[in-house]
Amino acid sequence: MRGLSAVLCAALLPGLAGADWRGEIALEGRGFTQAPVDPAQHDANLSLSGEIEFHTRWDEGRQSFTLKPFARLDQHDEERTHADLREAVWLYHDDGLEIRLGVTKVFWGVTEVYHLVDIINQTDVVENPDGEQKLGQPMLKLSLERDWGTLDMFYLPWFRERRYPSLEGRPRTQPRIAAELADYENHRRQYHPDFALRWSRSLGDWDLGVAHFYGTGREPSLTFDLDRDGQPVLIPHYEIIHQTSLDVQGAVGDWLWKLEALYRQGQGPSFFVATGGFEYTFYGILEGSGDLGVLTELMWDERGTESTSPFNRDLFLGLRWAANDVAGTEILAGVIQDWDNGSRLFNLEASRRMGNAWKLGLQARLWNDVVDSDPLFGLRSDDYIELKVTRFF
């Protein structure tokens, strides 16, 4: 696939010379405040990433092609040094019909913290532990927009394996996850054809989405084992699953309401997971132009301590500050607490624009009182602060 992507890029780049393009380059530094659990890990890390997007349209705007390669160079983590074709997609649309063919990204979901129902694209875990970065997914997507809502149909011919931090990567689980030893329930492995269907509709103040996915689960089960050198590792196991999901968001006055829920079959006994909450915003507080939002989200997993996710019995409380100034200053600070075992994750994200083409970002993550039964236990010493400077073109 990587080879194919390179060939595709090389073939298409000259043809796209006249296309619109945009890009960004980001330099990121991370500093860790505690000694690592594994001596192979480091106290600081530098990383450089770049992304460029070419876009061209024709047929009076009905057809377009987008190409978006991404690459990262990481000081210590050889798995985080990676390239990915985020998009290489042909789009056709006309009067309520839309076709997308190629590699692209689709996001489902409404909540702030736990992106539960989002399943089309594999998470690019090495990019950021927040799970918001995704690998490009090859697909044929057909959308019908009608009075009764929008129907999206997906055929996903090829599965993208999750990538995990290498031995020197940080933050990471203890022991590391050995992606190279991944195994599959289905003998076709990455070539198992996956399908998905989603109906969505806006009704007044509310947006609804109902979806079903059949195919290789994006989130693997992990089992303890030894790697080829006899070192302990976690081995990912990809099951064939059926997953039915619901997402709802509503804007009522100063309240935003959010709910995501799913029912999954095929990954152990069938189970139900839900996350939801609200965001209430005080607009123009302190006689100024800034807005302060108060966020609360609950995460509940029927599997309890058997859950593959750390967000099994958790509560998120957060504050969002939007200054609405020329620099677009924003701060999101919050804490996620497991109400069963007391483990806590503090999270801070702030950003600010500098001039027309630069942006400064700050992130801090601190794990606190993490018990050894929690999936986040491996990250207990990985508290870090990240500073990122991005130049846009």
Partner: protein, 264 residues
Amino acid sequence: MRATSLLIALSLLGAMPAAAVDGAGEAAARGLEIATEADRRDTGFHDFRAELTMLLRNRHGEESQRQMRTQALEVDGDGDKTMIIFDSPLDVQGTALLTFSHKTGSDDQWLYLPAVKRVKRISSSNKSGPFMGSEFAYEDLASQEIEKYTYRYVQDDTLDGQAMFLIERDPVDENSGYRRQLVWIDQAEYRPIKIEFYDRKDSLLKTLTFTGYQRYLERFWRAREMFMQNHQTGKSTLLTWQNYAFRVGLEDSDFTTNSLKRAK
């Protein structure tokens, strides 16, 4: 005699408030009549596309610029549908805002974030918030529906030698940042020429002036420049409209959350 003067006095006392109500009613009717005529003259454009530039200037004279593209569709019996796509600053390039404005009740708004390919519904009760850090609030840029205000005709006036109607309009929505607005509308073409915005404490907050009017499809007047001066902060924003194109064939399907994801 005494009885007569008492009767006269009583009838005068009775008549005075009645006359005042009549005067207020007349001023309201005249104000609404002018607003309705202005709206009637601007109805029927069906759809348009345009590009806009915002030049933000703070009290020290420091400037920053925003560039956007917009498209709008008239909706029979309701407020317009509009989409704004951001081109700069570059970190928000490709971000798009879809608004279904309604004559009564709150508008529906969705924001598309291209980096995560996510459509977020946003609360539209935030009418008074600054748009992109500018001196324009969301409500200043929203589709101006008659039902969003109550009106009062103040007087005839002149601005730069042009005959004007001066009307006062009070926002109906309690989330509006304004107590009232004074609007100068030219008598010849019923176009807004100047608006004074008074904050909730009734102090003069901002003045908006419209210049460089051009006529499209031989009927629809659009100002090339809209200059908003904030009197309380000393900041200003100059909004310049370019490349207006009317009746380009936009439809409902160009204003959906799915079409937001296609916006580039």
